[in-house]
Point group: C2
Amino acid sequence: MDFQSCFPVWNQLSAAQQERILGSLSERSVKKGALLHNGGADCTGLLVVRSGQLRAYILSEEGREITIYRLFDRDICLFSASCVMRSVQFDVTVAAEKDTDLWVIPAEVYRQLMEESAPLANYTNELMAGRFSEVMWLVEQVMWRSMDQRIASFLLEEAAIEGTNRLAITHETIANHLGTHREVVTRMLRYFRSEGMVELSRGVVELTDEAKLKALQRA
Amino acid sequence: MDFQSCFPVWNQLSAAQQERILGSLSERSVKKGALLHNGGADCTGLLVVRSGQLRAYILSEEGREITIYRLFDRDICLFSASCVMRSVQFDVTVAAEKDTDLWVIPAEVYRQLMEESAPLANYTNELMAGRFSEVMWLVEQVMWRSMDQRIASFLLEEAAIEGTNRLAITHETIANHLGTHREVVTRMLRYFRSEGMVELSRGVVELTDEAKLKALQRA
Protein backbone atom coordinates (compact mmCIF):
# COMPACT_ATOMS: atom_id res chain seq x y z
CA MET A 1 0.00 0.00 0.00
CA ASP A 2 1.40 3.40 -0.80
CA PHE A 3 0.98 6.59 1.14
CA GLN A 4 -0.96 8.47 -1.53
CA SER A 5 -3.87 6.02 -1.45
CA CYS A 6 -4.58 7.02 2.17
CA PHE A 7 -5.32 10.56 1.05
CA PRO A 8 -8.49 10.81 -1.04
CA VAL A 9 -7.65 14.43 -1.87
CA TRP A 10 -4.08 13.67 -3.00
CA ASN A 11 -4.85 14.46 -6.62
CA GLN A 12 -6.35 17.80 -5.66
CA LEU A 13 -3.04 18.98 -4.27
CA SER A 14 -0.57 20.77 -6.51
CA ALA A 15 2.67 19.05 -7.48
CA ALA A 16 4.54 21.44 -5.17
CA GLN A 17 2.22 20.60 -2.27
CA GLN A 18 2.57 16.87 -2.88
CA GLU A 19 6.32 17.36 -2.93
CA ARG A 20 6.29 19.13 0.43
CA ILE A 21 4.37 16.27 2.04
CA LEU A 22 6.54 13.54 0.52
CA GLY A 23 9.70 15.47 1.36
CA SER A 24 8.81 15.83 5.04
CA LEU A 25 7.22 12.42 5.56
CA SER A 26 8.92 9.97 7.89
CA GLU A 27 8.29 6.28 8.36
CA ARG A 28 8.04 4.70 11.78
CA SER A 29 7.61 1.18 13.07
CA VAL A 30 6.47 0.70 16.65
CA LYS A 31 5.88 -2.34 18.80
CA LYS A 32 2.60 -3.20 20.46
CA GLY A 33 2.26 -1.11 23.60
CA ALA A 34 4.37 1.82 22.37
CA LEU A 35 3.16 5.27 23.35
CA LEU A 36 2.94 7.43 20.23
CA HIS A 37 1.40 10.61 21.52
CA ASN A 38 0.97 11.81 25.05
CA GLY A 39 -1.50 14.67 25.30
CA GLY A 40 -1.35 18.32 24.42
CA ALA A 41 2.29 18.88 25.30
CA ASP A 42 3.31 16.67 22.37
CA CYS A 43 3.07 17.89 18.82
CA THR A 44 3.72 14.56 17.24
CA GLY A 45 2.30 15.30 13.82
CA LEU A 46 -0.31 13.61 11.69
CA LEU A 47 -0.11 9.83 12.00
CA VAL A 48 -1.14 7.74 9.00
CA VAL A 49 -1.49 4.03 9.76
CA ARG A 50 0.12 1.87 7.09
CA SER A 51 -0.66 -1.35 8.94
CA GLY A 52 -1.40 -2.18 12.53
CA GLN A 53 -3.74 -0.80 15.13
CA LEU A 54 -3.72 2.30 17.33
CA ARG A 55 -5.87 3.30 20.24
CA ALA A 56 -6.71 6.87 21.25
CA TYR A 57 -7.84 7.34 24.83
CA ILE A 58 -8.17 9.86 27.61
CA LEU A 59 -6.87 9.59 31.14
CA SER A 60 -8.38 10.77 34.41
CA GLU A 61 -6.24 12.39 37.09
CA GLU A 62 -6.33 9.06 38.94
CA GLY A 63 -5.05 7.20 35.89
CA ARG A 64 -8.35 5.71 34.75
CA GLU A 65 -8.67 5.34 30.97
CA ILE A 66 -11.42 5.31 28.39
CA THR A 67 -10.98 4.53 24.71
CA ILE A 68 -12.36 7.24 22.46
CA TYR A 69 -11.55 5.67 19.11
CA ARG A 70 -9.27 3.17 17.38
CA LEU A 71 -7.34 3.44 14.16
CA PHE A 72 -6.75 0.72 11.58
CA ASP A 73 -5.00 0.44 8.22
CA ARG A 74 -5.19 3.72 6.22
CA ASP A 75 -6.70 5.61 9.14
CA ILE A 76 -5.37 9.04 9.98
CA CYS A 77 -4.86 10.31 13.50
CA LEU A 78 -5.65 14.00 13.52
CA PHE A 79 -5.40 14.71 17.23
CA SER A 80 -1.75 13.75 17.44
CA ALA A 81 -1.38 16.95 15.40
CA SER A 82 -3.95 18.88 17.40
CA CYS A 83 -1.37 21.55 18.13
CA VAL A 84 -2.18 22.91 14.66
CA MET A 85 -5.72 23.81 15.77
CA ARG A 86 -5.88 26.24 18.63
CA SER A 87 -9.51 25.33 19.46
CA VAL A 88 -8.60 21.79 20.44
CA GLN A 89 -8.72 22.00 24.22
CA PHE A 90 -8.35 18.39 25.22
CA ASP A 91 -5.59 15.86 25.55
CA VAL A 92 -5.60 12.53 23.79
CA THR A 93 -3.11 9.74 24.35
CA VAL A 94 -2.32 7.44 21.42
CA ALA A 95 -0.74 4.01 21.85
CA ALA A 96 -0.12 1.03 19.57
CA GLU A 97 -2.44 -1.93 20.21
CA LYS A 98 -0.49 -4.05 17.72
CA ASP A 99 2.89 -3.75 16.04
CA THR A 100 2.27 -0.83 13.71
CA ASP A 101 3.92 0.75 10.68
CA LEU A 102 3.03 4.34 10.10
CA TRP A 103 3.88 7.53 8.33
CA VAL A 104 4.25 10.80 10.18
CA ILE A 105 3.58 14.20 8.57
CA PRO A 106 5.09 17.00 10.70
CA ALA A 107 2.35 19.10 12.25
CA GLU A 108 3.75 22.37 10.94
CA VAL A 109 3.90 21.12 7.35
CA TYR A 110 0.32 19.93 7.57
CA ARG A 111 -0.85 23.21 9.09
CA GLN A 112 0.71 25.26 6.31
CA LEU A 113 -0.78 23.08 3.57
CA MET A 114 -4.20 23.12 5.20
CA GLU A 115 -4.07 26.89 5.31
CA GLU A 116 -3.55 27.20 1.58
CA SER A 117 -5.49 24.20 0.28
CA ALA A 118 -9.28 24.20 0.54
CA PRO A 119 -9.50 20.49 -0.45
CA LEU A 120 -7.08 19.52 2.34
CA ALA A 121 -8.88 21.74 4.87
CA ASN A 122 -12.23 20.22 3.90
CA TYR A 123 -10.79 16.73 4.07
CA THR A 124 -9.49 17.51 7.56
CA ASN A 125 -12.99 18.65 8.43
CA GLU A 126 -14.38 15.30 7.38
CA LEU A 127 -11.72 13.50 9.41
CA MET A 128 -12.62 15.50 12.47
CA ALA A 129 -16.36 15.01 11.90
CA GLY A 130 -15.74 11.25 11.75
CA ARG A 131 -13.93 11.26 15.10
CA PHE A 132 -16.55 13.57 16.52
CA SER A 133 -19.19 11.03 15.53
CA GLU A 134 -17.31 8.30 17.36
CA VAL A 135 -17.12 10.40 20.51
CA MET A 136 -20.84 11.20 20.28
CA TRP A 137 -21.49 7.46 20.00
CA LEU A 138 -19.40 7.05 23.15
CA VAL A 139 -21.44 9.71 24.98
CA GLU A 140 -24.62 7.89 24.04
CA GLN A 141 -23.20 4.56 25.22
CA VAL A 142 -22.05 5.98 28.52
CA MET A 143 -25.28 7.90 29.11
CA TRP A 144 -27.98 5.54 27.94
CA ARG A 145 -26.52 2.04 27.98
CA SER A 146 -25.88 -0.15 30.99
CA MET A 147 -22.45 -1.65 31.67
CA ASP A 148 -23.56 -5.19 30.70
CA GLN A 149 -24.66 -3.89 27.29
CA ARG A 150 -21.42 -1.98 26.84
CA ILE A 151 -19.30 -5.01 27.72
CA ALA A 152 -21.32 -7.19 25.32
CA SER A 153 -20.81 -4.59 22.55
CA PHE A 154 -17.11 -4.37 23.28
CA LEU A 155 -16.62 -8.16 23.15
CA LEU A 156 -18.55 -8.45 19.87
CA GLU A 157 -16.58 -5.56 18.32
CA GLU A 158 -13.29 -7.03 19.50
CA ALA A 159 -14.20 -10.45 18.06
CA ALA A 160 -15.00 -8.76 14.72
CA ILE A 161 -11.66 -6.87 14.73
CA GLU A 162 -9.63 -9.94 15.65
CA GLY A 163 -11.59 -12.35 13.48
CA THR A 164 -11.90 -14.85 16.33
CA ASN A 165 -14.22 -15.56 19.25
CA ARG A 166 -11.26 -16.44 21.47
CA LEU A 167 -9.97 -13.09 22.74
CA ALA A 168 -6.61 -12.80 24.46
CA ILE A 169 -7.57 -9.89 26.70
CA THR A 170 -7.48 -9.20 30.42
CA HIS A 171 -10.35 -7.84 32.49
CA GLU A 172 -8.12 -4.85 33.27
CA THR A 173 -7.75 -4.04 29.56
CA ILE A 174 -11.50 -4.26 29.01
CA ALA A 175 -12.01 -1.93 31.98
CA ASN A 176 -9.53 0.56 30.51
CA HIS A 177 -11.36 0.59 27.19
CA LEU A 178 -14.70 1.25 28.84
CA GLY A 179 -13.62 3.65 31.57
CA THR A 180 -14.64 1.41 34.44
CA HIS A 181 -12.96 -0.67 37.16
CA ARG A 182 -11.58 -4.18 36.72
CA GLU A 183 -13.85 -5.51 39.47
CA VAL A 184 -16.94 -4.36 37.55
CA VAL A 185 -15.76 -6.18 34.42
CA THR A 186 -14.90 -9.34 36.35
CA ARG A 187 -18.31 -9.41 38.04
CA MET A 188 -20.10 -8.92 34.74
CA LEU A 189 -18.05 -11.53 32.89
CA ARG A 190 -18.85 -14.06 35.62
CA TYR A 191 -22.52 -13.29 35.10
CA PHE A 192 -22.05 -13.72 31.32
CA ARG A 193 -20.42 -17.09 32.02
CA SER A 194 -23.31 -18.20 34.22
CA GLU A 195 -25.61 -17.36 31.29
CA GLY A 196 -23.49 -19.41 28.88
CA MET A 197 -22.40 -16.38 26.85
CA VAL A 198 -18.65 -16.65 27.51
CA GLU A 199 -16.00 -19.03 28.79
CA LEU A 200 -13.23 -17.55 30.94
CA SER A 201 -9.66 -18.67 31.43
CA ARG A 202 -6.48 -16.83 32.40
CA GLY A 203 -6.10 -13.84 30.05
CA VAL A 204 -8.75 -15.20 27.69
CA VAL A 205 -12.41 -14.45 27.11
CA GLU A 206 -14.10 -16.78 24.66
CA LEU A 207 -17.48 -15.84 23.19
CA THR A 208 -19.64 -18.98 23.28
CA ASP A 209 -23.08 -17.58 22.47
CA GLU A 210 -22.84 -14.65 20.08
CA ALA A 211 -26.59 -14.54 19.46
CA LYS A 212 -27.27 -14.08 23.16
CA LEU A 213 -24.61 -11.36 23.45
CA LYS A 214 -26.14 -9.57 20.46
CA ALA A 215 -29.60 -9.77 22.02
CA LEU A 216 -28.22 -8.28 25.24
CA GLN A 217 -26.45 -5.52 23.30
CA ARG A 218 -29.70 -4.55 21.59
CA ALA A 219 -31.92 -4.91 24.67
CA MET B 1 -23.96 44.15 16.07
CA ASP B 2 -23.58 43.34 12.45
CA PHE B 3 -23.30 39.94 10.87
CA GLN B 4 -19.77 40.37 9.52
CA SER B 5 -18.28 40.78 12.99
CA CYS B 6 -19.30 37.20 13.84
CA PHE B 7 -17.06 35.89 11.09
CA PRO B 8 -13.37 36.42 11.84
CA VAL B 9 -12.50 35.32 8.29
CA TRP B 10 -14.96 37.68 6.63
CA ASN B 11 -12.19 39.85 5.15
CA GLN B 12 -10.48 36.80 3.69
CA LEU B 13 -13.49 36.08 1.50
CA SER B 14 -13.72 37.60 -1.96
CA ALA B 15 -16.30 40.30 -2.66
CA ALA B 16 -18.28 37.74 -4.70
CA GLN B 17 -18.22 35.24 -1.83
CA GLN B 18 -19.32 37.88 0.68
CA GLU B 19 -22.11 38.79 -1.71
CA ARG B 20 -23.33 35.19 -1.90
CA ILE B 21 -23.53 34.95 1.88
CA LEU B 22 -25.27 38.28 2.32
CA GLY B 23 -27.64 37.54 -0.56
CA SER B 24 -28.77 34.20 0.91
CA LEU B 25 -28.82 35.21 4.57
CA SER B 26 -32.13 35.26 6.39
CA GLU B 27 -33.00 36.72 9.76
CA ARG B 28 -35.10 34.87 12.28
CA SER B 29 -36.49 35.67 15.70
CA VAL B 30 -37.65 32.83 17.90
CA LYS B 31 -39.23 32.65 21.32
CA LYS B 32 -37.76 30.83 24.30
CA GLY B 33 -38.51 27.13 23.93
CA ALA B 34 -38.65 27.13 20.12
CA LEU B 35 -37.18 24.08 18.41
CA LEU B 36 -34.70 25.25 15.77
CA HIS B 37 -33.18 22.02 14.54
CA ASN B 38 -34.35 18.49 15.07
CA GLY B 39 -31.67 15.96 14.23
CA GLY B 40 -30.20 14.67 11.01
CA ALA B 41 -33.38 14.81 8.94
CA ASP B 42 -33.31 18.60 9.12
CA CYS B 43 -30.88 20.62 7.08
CA THR B 44 -31.56 23.89 8.79
CA GLY B 45 -28.39 25.70 7.80
CA LEU B 46 -25.72 27.48 9.75
CA LEU B 47 -27.20 29.40 12.67
CA VAL B 48 -25.43 32.56 13.82
CA VAL B 49 -26.67 33.91 17.15
CA ARG B 50 -27.21 37.67 17.05
CA SER B 51 -28.54 37.77 20.59
CA GLY B 52 -30.10 35.21 22.88
CA GLN B 53 -29.19 31.71 23.91
CA LEU B 54 -29.43 28.30 22.25
CA ARG B 55 -28.94 24.82 23.62
CA ALA B 56 -27.73 21.81 21.64
CA TYR B 57 -28.59 18.43 23.10
CA ILE B 58 -29.03 14.79 22.28
CA LEU B 59 -32.01 12.58 23.02
CA SER B 60 -32.17 8.94 24.02
CA GLU B 61 -34.81 6.62 22.55
CA GLU B 62 -36.73 7.00 25.82
CA GLY B 63 -36.68 10.77 25.54
CA ARG B 64 -33.92 11.47 28.05
CA GLU B 65 -31.79 14.52 27.22
CA ILE B 66 -28.26 15.71 27.80
CA THR B 67 -26.88 19.13 26.90
CA ILE B 68 -23.78 18.95 24.74
CA TYR B 69 -23.14 22.67 24.39
CA ARG B 70 -24.77 26.08 24.54
CA LEU B 71 -24.53 29.03 22.21
CA PHE B 72 -24.46 32.69 23.11
CA ASP B 73 -24.17 36.01 21.24
CA ARG B 74 -21.98 35.70 18.11
CA ASP B 75 -21.74 31.91 18.43
CA ILE B 76 -22.19 29.78 15.36
CA CYS B 77 -24.07 26.50 15.33
CA LEU B 78 -22.35 24.22 12.88
CA PHE B 79 -24.28 21.01 13.46
CA SER B 80 -27.57 22.50 12.36
CA ALA B 81 -25.81 22.44 8.97
CA SER B 82 -24.25 19.02 9.52
CA CYS B 83 -25.88 17.76 6.33
CA VAL B 84 -22.98 19.46 4.52
CA MET B 85 -20.48 17.03 6.07
CA ARG B 86 -21.12 13.41 5.27
CA SER B 87 -18.95 12.17 8.15
CA VAL B 88 -21.26 13.64 10.77
CA GLN B 89 -23.12 10.56 11.98
CA PHE B 90 -25.04 11.87 14.93
CA ASP B 91 -28.18 13.86 15.55
CA VAL B 92 -28.25 17.05 17.53
CA THR B 93 -31.36 18.93 18.59
CA VAL B 94 -31.14 22.71 18.94
CA ALA B 95 -33.64 24.75 20.93
CA ALA B 96 -33.85 28.35 22.13
CA GLU B 97 -33.25 28.79 25.86
CA LYS B 98 -34.11 32.47 25.64
CA ASP B 99 -35.83 34.64 23.04
CA THR B 100 -33.22 34.66 20.29
CA ASP B 101 -32.45 36.65 17.16
CA LEU B 102 -30.34 34.85 14.63
CA TRP B 103 -29.11 34.72 11.10
CA VAL B 104 -29.39 31.60 8.98
CA ILE B 105 -26.98 30.78 6.16
CA PRO B 106 -28.44 28.05 3.92
CA ALA B 107 -26.46 24.84 4.27
CA GLU B 108 -25.87 24.47 0.54
CA VAL B 109 -24.48 28.00 0.19
CA TYR B 110 -22.12 27.38 3.09
CA ARG B 111 -21.01 24.03 1.67
CA GLN B 112 -20.14 25.55 -1.70
CA LEU B 113 -18.18 28.41 -0.17
CA MET B 114 -16.31 26.09 2.17
CA GLU B 115 -15.32 23.96 -0.79
CA GLU B 116 -13.68 26.84 -2.60
CA SER B 117 -12.37 28.92 0.32
CA ALA B 118 -9.49 27.56 2.40
CA PRO B 119 -9.93 30.30 5.05
CA LEU B 120 -13.61 29.42 5.50
CA ALA B 121 -12.85 25.68 5.59
CA ASN B 122 -10.15 26.25 8.22
CA TYR B 123 -12.44 28.49 10.21
CA THR B 124 -15.08 25.74 10.12
CA ASN B 125 -12.41 23.36 11.37
CA GLU B 126 -11.77 25.59 14.36
CA LEU B 127 -15.51 25.83 15.04
CA MET B 128 -15.78 22.05 15.03
CA ALA B 129 -12.68 21.65 17.17
CA GLY B 130 -14.24 24.03 19.72
CA ARG B 131 -17.44 21.97 19.90
CA PHE B 132 -15.39 18.78 19.99
CA SER B 133 -13.55 20.15 23.02
CA GLU B 134 -16.85 20.82 24.77
CA VAL B 135 -18.03 17.27 24.13
CA MET B 136 -14.71 15.87 25.40
CA TRP B 137 -15.19 17.95 28.53
CA LEU B 138 -18.64 16.37 28.83
CA VAL B 139 -17.16 12.87 28.47
CA GLU B 140 -14.70 13.62 31.25
CA GLN B 141 -17.47 14.97 33.48
CA VAL B 142 -19.69 11.97 32.91
CA MET B 143 -16.87 9.47 33.33
CA TRP B 144 -14.82 10.87 36.18
CA ARG B 145 -17.07 13.21 38.14
CA SER B 146 -19.82 12.26 40.53
CA MET B 147 -23.36 13.61 40.15
CA ASP B 148 -23.03 15.98 43.13
CA GLN B 149 -19.95 17.57 41.53
CA ARG B 150 -21.71 17.86 38.18
CA ILE B 151 -24.77 19.51 39.72
CA ALA B 152 -22.55 21.93 41.66
CA SER B 153 -20.69 22.81 38.42
CA PHE B 154 -23.95 23.27 36.55
CA LEU B 155 -25.41 25.61 39.18
CA LEU B 156 -22.23 27.71 39.29
CA GLU B 157 -22.10 27.92 35.49
CA GLU B 158 -25.78 28.83 35.31
CA ALA B 159 -25.31 31.57 37.93
CA ALA B 160 -22.41 32.98 35.89
CA ILE B 161 -24.49 32.94 32.67
CA GLU B 162 -27.51 34.57 34.32
CA GLY B 163 -25.52 36.97 36.46
CA THR B 164 -27.53 36.06 39.56
CA ASN B 165 -27.45 33.47 42.35
CA ARG B 166 -31.24 33.15 42.23
CA LEU B 167 -31.94 30.72 39.38
CA ALA B 168 -35.42 30.25 37.97
CA ILE B 169 -34.99 26.63 36.99
CA THR B 170 -36.83 23.39 37.70
CA HIS B 171 -35.25 20.14 38.86
CA GLU B 172 -36.52 18.57 35.64
CA THR B 173 -34.59 21.10 33.54
CA ILE B 174 -31.39 20.50 35.49
CA ALA B 175 -31.86 16.75 34.98
CA ASN B 176 -32.30 17.27 31.22
CA HIS B 177 -29.08 19.27 31.02
CA LEU B 178 -27.12 16.59 32.84
CA GLY B 179 -28.69 13.48 31.35
CA THR B 180 -30.09 12.19 34.61
CA HIS B 181 -33.48 11.77 36.29
CA ARG B 182 -35.41 14.46 38.13
CA GLU B 183 -35.47 12.36 41.30
CA VAL B 184 -31.67 12.26 41.37
CA VAL B 185 -31.48 16.06 41.09
CA THR B 186 -34.13 16.58 43.77
CA ARG B 187 -32.36 14.24 46.19
CA MET B 188 -29.05 15.98 45.61
CA LEU B 189 -30.47 19.51 45.93
CA ARG B 190 -32.03 18.55 49.26
CA TYR B 191 -28.63 17.38 50.41
CA PHE B 192 -27.11 20.69 49.20
CA ARG B 193 -29.79 22.51 51.19
CA SER B 194 -29.00 20.52 54.33
CA GLU B 195 -25.39 21.61 53.88
CA GLY B 196 -26.40 25.26 53.52
CA MET B 197 -25.28 25.52 49.89
CA VAL B 198 -28.69 26.32 48.37
CA GLU B 199 -32.17 27.45 49.27
CA LEU B 200 -35.06 25.83 47.40
CA SER B 201 -38.49 27.15 46.54
CA ARG B 202 -40.96 26.38 43.77
CA GLY B 203 -39.12 26.65 40.45
CA VAL B 204 -36.19 28.42 42.09
CA VAL B 205 -32.74 27.32 43.23
CA GLU B 206 -30.82 29.98 45.10
CA LEU B 207 -27.09 29.57 45.64
CA THR B 208 -26.36 30.56 49.24
CA ASP B 209 -22.78 29.34 49.66
CA GLU B 210 -20.82 29.66 46.45
CA ALA B 211 -17.49 28.91 48.12
CA LYS B 212 -18.77 25.60 49.41
CA LEU B 213 -20.21 24.70 45.99
CA LYS B 214 -16.88 25.55 44.38
CA ALA B 215 -15.02 23.39 46.89
CA LEU B 216 -17.37 20.50 46.11
CA GLN B 217 -16.91 21.01 42.35
CA ARG B 218 -13.14 20.80 42.73
CA ALA B 219 -13.16 17.94 45.25
